[in-house]
């Protein structure tokens, strides 16, 4: 018997998954994204770091077109971002997003939160969707909370459900926008552990975070943003111990000795 390998994790496919080319975006007079060039390859984990207001969230949101861009190109897995309608919805399903404020559907149970997209977007059978949802909830450690409503969960639990909800769509890439910033300190690690696990399993991830422990242990690359520009890119150790730009040095000195 020859072993047939089907799991995609077994063969680390290569190639560029997310490509941004000279992306520009304004909010009125504010030039919030300035000539952003960024390429993320399959399986890569990129941490985006930078001062508040530097455009990190806008960058994330532009990647699944929650925010439109003024010029430049963004493509996911070789396909340019569609304008609107069905094609855009399909693309969004392939890009998982985890928000700072969790944004779980407040009127649905935890289980329903994780099933909704599978049933309505992927057209999965209800039973199949439920099994998958329960497995994912188990994986992020909140299986026992399946029948509760989001408001009954702690922040850390809600964020792990949000990760499960995004994973339920089998995304090609996961975007995390400061996933632990709204959490009480004692809950940060339970979320970071889930993310670390994901990174180890080969998920392509773009993570906006100031958690340096996570960046050092899980990231392949750190992207430093300031004033709407990518100022510096480096492997985590090099960036944290030996930043090149003054902006990065200044920023790191602030978050290191607060």
């Amino acid at each position: 018997m020859t072993e047939v390998s089907v799991a995609k994790d077994d063969v680390p496919a290569t190639g560029d998954l997310v490509v941004l080319k000279s992306v520009n975006k304004h909010f009125g007079a504010l030039h919030v994204l300035q000539d952003i060039d960024l390429t993320i390859t399959r399986g890569e984990v990129v941490v985006v770091i930078g001062p508040s207001g530097s455009g990190k969230s806008t960058l994330c949101r532009a990647i699944n077109r929650l925010e439109t861009i003024d010029s430049g190109d963004i493509s996911i897995d070789g396909k340019p971002l569609p304008q609107e309608g069905k094609a855009l919805a399909r693309l969004r399903a392939d890009v998982g997003m985890v928000f700072q404020s969790f944004n779980l559907f407040a009127h649905k149970t935890v289980l329903e939160n994780v099933m909704l997209g599978q049933i309505k977007v992927r057209k999965a059978d209800k039973k199949v969707a439920e099994d998958k949802a329960r497995a994912l909830l188990d994986r992020v450690g909140v299986a026992t909370q399946a029948d509760k409503y989001p408001a009954q969960l702690s922040g850390g639990q809600q964020q792990r459900v949000a990760i499960a909800r995004a994973l339920a769509m089998d995304p090609k890439v996961m975007l995390f926008d400061e996933p632990t910033s709204a959490l009480d300190p004692e809950m940060i690690n339970e979320v970071l552990e889930v993310m670390q696990q994901l990174a180890r399993e080969g998920m392509t991830m773009i993570v906006v975070t100031h958690e340096m422990g996570f960046a050092r242990s899980a990231a392949n690359r750190v992207v430093f943003m300031a004033d709407g520009r990518i100022v510096e890119e480096a492997v985590p150790d090099q960036f944290f111990s030996n930043p090149r730009s003054d902006r990065a040095k200044d920023f790191l000195s602030k978050i290191l000795h607060h």
Binding site: L66, A93, H107, K120, A166
Partner: protein, 242 residues
């Protein structure tokens, strides 16, 4: 006929008194008239909830034309007196344009349907605005998360935003429905034989003005009070916790 005159068993003398006091009700189909009022209310309620929801969807739609239509509709319709709208359905639609509502040979049915149409056109503007204020209570993050998992605009609205918006406006919606119940009296203007028309007729024929008014007031309260109570209870029950 011997009967103990206990406090709780109405003796013949009570019955006699009642007969005299409520004498004026005789010969009038009070229940029938209120039944028409109930029918007007229920049909118009269903219609305006449906059309009002569609209007609210238009008002938050990304398509400018739809938004424009929704806004124009609400601002025009809610500023026209209901009597004018009801008269318009009768004089304008029916008598001028020949809209018969599928009942060309039966004037009563035709007028009833025209009144329902008018009430729907009018009430839906208020349903729309109540719903829209409910939509505004739903945090934008809810819609963004829904878009982010790949739901279409319609799905975001019907699966995530509206269910939460509706839960938060059960109370205001009760006000709209209570107002609708009372507004059905305007249908009398085009001859629909609902409670208010009967009241007018009775007042013309009978002497007990205050009693007649009281009976009808009581009838309307019987219809509206449960609406408020039940919807207040439902509103608490379905409220979304955040």
């Amino acid at each position: 006929m011997r009967r103990s005159s206990g406090r709780h068993t109405p003796g013949p003398r009570h019955a006699e008194a009642r007969e005299i006091v409520f004498d004026f009700l005789e010969g009038y189909d009070l229940l029938g008239a209120f039944w028409v009022t109930v029918q007007l209310t229920l049909l118009s309620a269903v219609g305006s909830l449906v059309w009002g929801t569609m209007l609210a969807a238009m008002r938050v739609s990304p398509v400018p034309l739809m938004r424009g239509f929704g806004t124009a509709y609400v601002n025009i319709v809610r500023n026209i007196p209901l009597t004018v709208i009801i008269l318009f359905t009768s004089l304008g639609l029916s008598q001028t344009l020949g809209v018969t509502m599928g009942a060309a040979d039966n004037f009563d049915t035709q007028n009833f349907r025209l009144a329902v149409l008018g009430l729907i056109l009018y009430t839906s503007a208020f349903v729309c605005e109540a719903l829209r204020s409910g939509i505004n209570t739903v945090p934008v993050g809810q819609a963004e998360a829904a878009r982010a998992i790949g739901l279409s605009f319609t799905q975001v609205l019907t699966l995530v935003v509206l269910p939460q918006a509706i839960r938060s406006v059960v109370g205001p919606m009760a006000n709209v429905l209570i107002a609708l119940t009372k507004n059905t009296t305007v249908a009398a203007a085009i001859g629909v034989t609902e409670a208010a028309l009967l009241m007018k007729k009775m007042i013309e024929n009978e002497a007990q003005l205050i009693l007649i008014s009281a009976v009808f007031a009581f009838g309307y309260v019987c219809l509206t009070l449960p609406t408020g109570l039940i919807m207040g209870w439902v509103g608490k029950k379905v409220a979304v916790k955040r």
